[in-house]
Symmetry: D2
Subunit: 376 residues, 4 copies
């Protein structure tokens, strides 16, 4: 195989670049996924420019030009007209290059007293913080849905199970409220993670801070951080905020997988405890009476992807010397995919909770039956 | 929060659908990623149609129409003009619907004696088989690159390390050949996985086979399978071929992470054992003499994503009752991402092996120095 | 192979029981590891007995007999003279059976209004709480050790690295303090986990509470819990307190692995940044000058076991229906092993921090050298 | 906290050594678990001594003394009278020290042309090979049990499920045979792992081979290896044989977890498809009709520990430079625990397969019922 061409594998559609420049661009460029950080990147640059101007490192005119340029870039990205370029590697350089194109030298001065290392650490923290806020709203929504159905069925008897054997009678409402407890702890874990990550890395620069007379408190406050980080080496090389977020997500996903499993079992013919409408099931043309609880199964499965993302980042961070290493670029996809998966699983679960219809008669009857499995 | 609208979170760009139909389409549709299976899906359909015609279930005219329609669809997908539709959920239904549009009722008859369950099991097996073939070529390429550099440096002395302490002299060639051994086992593992997966699920239908007089040997042979699978329940619910593939990939990625770690350490100033050209390093405007081994760091990090993918699918499959469950739709992204990551890591490693320049003088000198760390 | 005998495999020392009673005892009995819960089990029983007597469910004489019996059992276990019996399955039944032997029917009455499900949930929470307290003391100790060495070397220059390339000068003290930050977050995570788990499951009974007029606040207070748990189904089936603990431990272990990696590299001959004394290194008879940083390597490796324990319990809990399932017995070994591994890794790291001697001259010189890896 | 005493934590029974010598012994010594390798270690030493004598490096008298000494040590260990000593760190040094005590200088000469690195690599390979042989016998036994019950119920109708919804009728025998297929692939994976690991590291010494005129083919043949390893650096630093073994075990455990889940569901009251006797269930004094399928639940849970062990070792090996590093000592516990867990899970599953009684009437009736979950 030649070392200087692209070898294609016709069958699986895979092809691997063998020209060094192609390989390097493909493994190194992150713009394919880190464009998700654009809002955070622009917010960080706005705050940085305002601070640079405030302390006199750049002029007010520069700041105004930068702010206007960033507004235009944000509008372009929002409108889908921004020309992302893989040769510019990542979202930070794409925005910075475009800014300089638009506003000239002022754009270049934005990078004063800042490095890509503290910039990306700031962006990812802001992104995770926003993701947490979004997920908290969804968890709260799911808790409300559960509580409403629990109130409705506060007196609907159902069998309580241990070992999936009928044990003692409980109510359908009591059972649903167990999940409200779990989700309440999930919310607490995410809130703790948010509080702990809420420090601003800006000013840490590449790893050793900067000799420019910057005001770290000002950028921290502008971005809603509680304070600047205390140690510059730590600030650019820490990804445990992402690990803590992924761990909280994995535990939450595990809770959802338990509820999803119960929905699958409860929908099963021999149980028939609940039914789900067409909205959350799929049918079969040859078995028209069959209603497959696809959404519940997919919620159950999402815990795999989220646990996998946690393991991925723990593996990446294992044994990395300080300070920044390029390995850390691999923090983003686990974080993005986990957020999308958990958000979707929460939405689907809340939808199913609102949709499900318990069969009170079967629940009552099942609570009366002796355990099976006994053999004379 | 209303249950019937899409709630947007302006900051992180996330938004979660709360209308049941939106949620269900988003969680259920796989066309966003399973379009990667299009070649395999079309090959499987061609083989199935030829068999149906051969045994007389469909007419030769139908088969000809189907084959022509599939050719046209393949051309459209290749050209990027195929209109993928998320409402049609997956690649199988997208292709089938388009086929029926083009060739009328014959398209509908293609689904005779086949279910989406055996169809997807076939497609994924074929995809993994193709991925293995592609990776085997890349592993072989990397082994050749290592062997060539080893031959070149068969007599270049370097310190052998244990505990990263200088232990006994070896040669640079000897060291590189250790990786040839590891890769040779990786190749063996992938070959074993390929052999074991090479059975055709077609004919298993939804889970219980079909009463149509199909010829399973014919479709198996047409698709390059060694034989049809033996048990229909197993055939549609087994994903251990994907697990075995992911496990082999994770071990290979671990090997690459070890070599990458060595490159990072060897490029470090105090070692200076090797240098990499600009092709595989990045520079810094403020530190022009600095050459960061980004490619090596990213190869080292990729083991995280691949290990995570293995954990993801093991988690998905844990405790799933037979036969098909929708959870198994979550097999694809781990498989696709692992293939892309490992392929890229192999290409980058081969590139670096060809590119690296050992500093023979420093290697020789380092082999002579006593171990550090001793303290009188 | 007969199904009614024990088949031995002479080579690997393995043997597998094939008599049902042997198999069942081996897979079911947990006394081999859950005896570690004895202190917590006795504390829980004392609190429960005092409450039962207080509300009049048992007599004061019974309570006194139970308390005396438990004291004696505690003394026997402490002295190593307690006759653990695998036929009694677990620590709870071992203690209860012994108590009844010693104090007669009063012992049996201890089980009133309590089930093994809420008992074990209480014991494990207490154990994790105690483990957290122990680890917090160790983390604090390590932070102090780092801070003391940092103070000592506040002005010792060393090269700051990114990508393991010399980037900008920092001080040895600054570098050590980065770990103080990481450990401070680890301490915060463990404190949050402790606060969240600190609710008493007692009174949840098997899954549905009890009709006895118990006082849950009294037992909660006696055991140092902040309050009783709110939902009985959740209380007996929740293990996310263990998951959160394991996740916090995995992140902490990852931090330690980074420091350990740095010690290994810094001790390496070409670096020679630090030396470790004989206390934390091992030698070699044939290479007397060689000092292997075994302790650092083992600390680095422990992150594997701890990450594995987290994955183990996430896998166990995935998809488990409510309420108690025997699967949850598999929570203990991951928790115990993680605690032992992390405690040992913290102790070894603190020891090495106190022991290490930086070579100020080499650190200074290395900070002056240009990055390697550049090629003409 | 003083750095020179042992600090005890009275509550959780934990205590952490703070005297360097205590810490080092505790983290470094592996005799607590690697004594499991004693048979393999003695076999390896016998083969090595015979070879040394054959090529004339030691005398025949020395060899005879060594062989007699090793016989005695084997007898002592078997009898439980061998004095294991933690100060001697590991099984290799325990045996070697004892041998020298018994047979004098000849014992010391056994270490000629061998290092602990190639010795431990050999021992672990032999142990894994023996473990595979034991597990293969158990898998075969389970396959036989399934096949026998399948033959017995070749015509017993039962509902086939997809999405846990009744789909199409199958037979109980057909369902059981799906697991025979899975286990057959598990057997294949273990056989491939055995074949691939079956090379002898002896002669690789610390990392660079030896200048003594040893006969590597002779030791390889004596220990049943197919050939010596090809590269000495690889031989002492490779642990992918253990990773491959753990991966095969994790896939097998996942299969068992699926069967266990089915047993739990099938034993559940609403299903009542099968019953298990008292041999594999536990009862409840207050609910005498209840039979908890504890053994099935524990089999289901064991997949957690085994998946965790795989992740543990993948994490350990990630990014380790060549050749031997002490991190690799952490390979043993994952391997030992996986073997014990999988062996027990296989035995319990085989026992349950032989024990279970299908309720043919309920199976037949369930096959006739329409899917639940439909809602008008």
């Amino acid at each position: 195989m030649s070392s200087a061409k692209t070898a294609a594998n016709a069958q699986w559609g895979g092809r691997f670049a063998t020209a060094p420049a192609d390989i390097m661009q493909r493994i190194n460029a992150s713009i394919g996924f880190d464009r998700a950080l654009w809002r955070q990147d622009i917010a960080g640059s706005r705050a940085h420019a305002a601070m640079l101007s405030h302390v006199g490192i750049i002029s007010q005119a520069d700041e105004a030009a930068i702010a206007a340029g960033l507004d235009q870039i944000a509008a372009d990205i929002e409108a889908g007209t921004f020309p992302f370029d893989a040769a510019l590697e990542d979202i930070h350089m794409n925005i910075e290059a475009r800014l300089t194109e638009r506003v000239g030298d002022a754009g270049g001065r934005l990078h004063t007293a800042r490095s890509r290392n503290d910039q990306v650490a700031t962006d990812v923290r802001l992104w995770v913080r926003d993701a947490i806020d979004g997920l908290q709203a969804q968890i709260t929504d799911l808790m409300r849905a559960l509580a409403m159905r629990a109130a409705e069925h506060a007196a609907t008897p159902m069998p309580g199970f241990t070992h999936l054997q009928t044990a003692q009678p409980v109510t359908f409402g009591h059972h649903l409220l167990a999940y409200v407890e779990m989700l309440s702890r999930d919310r607490g874990r995410l809130a703790d993670a948010r509080r702990r990550l809420n420090e601003s890395p800006l000013g840490s620069a590449a790893l050793a801070g900067t000799s420019f007379p910057i005001d770290r408190d000002m950028t921290a406050a502008a971005l809603g951080f509680d304070r600047p980080t205390a140690n510059s080496l730590d600030a650019v090389s820490d990804r445990d905020f992402a690990l803590e977020y992924l761990a909280a997500a994995a535990i939450a996903a595990t809770h959802l997988s338990r509820f999803a499993e119960e929905m699958v079992i409860w929908c099963s013919t021999p149980y028939g405890f609940i039914s789900l409408s067409d909205a959350f099931t799929t049918g079969s043309s040859i078995m028209p009476q069959k209603r497959n609880p696809d959404a519940a199964e997919l919620v159950r499965a999402k815990t795999g992807r989220i646990t996998g993302a946690l393991v991925a980042l723990l593996t990446v961070m294992k044994g990395l010397p300080l300070a920044y290493a390029k390995d850390m670029q691999e923090d983003k996809e686990p974080v993005f995919e986990t957020t999308a998966s958990l958000s979707l699983a929460l939405a689907a679960t809340a939808g199913m909770v609102r949709d499900l219809q318990p069969d009170a008669a079967r629940l009552r009857q099942a609570g009366r039956q002796p355990g099976a499995g006994a053999r004379g």
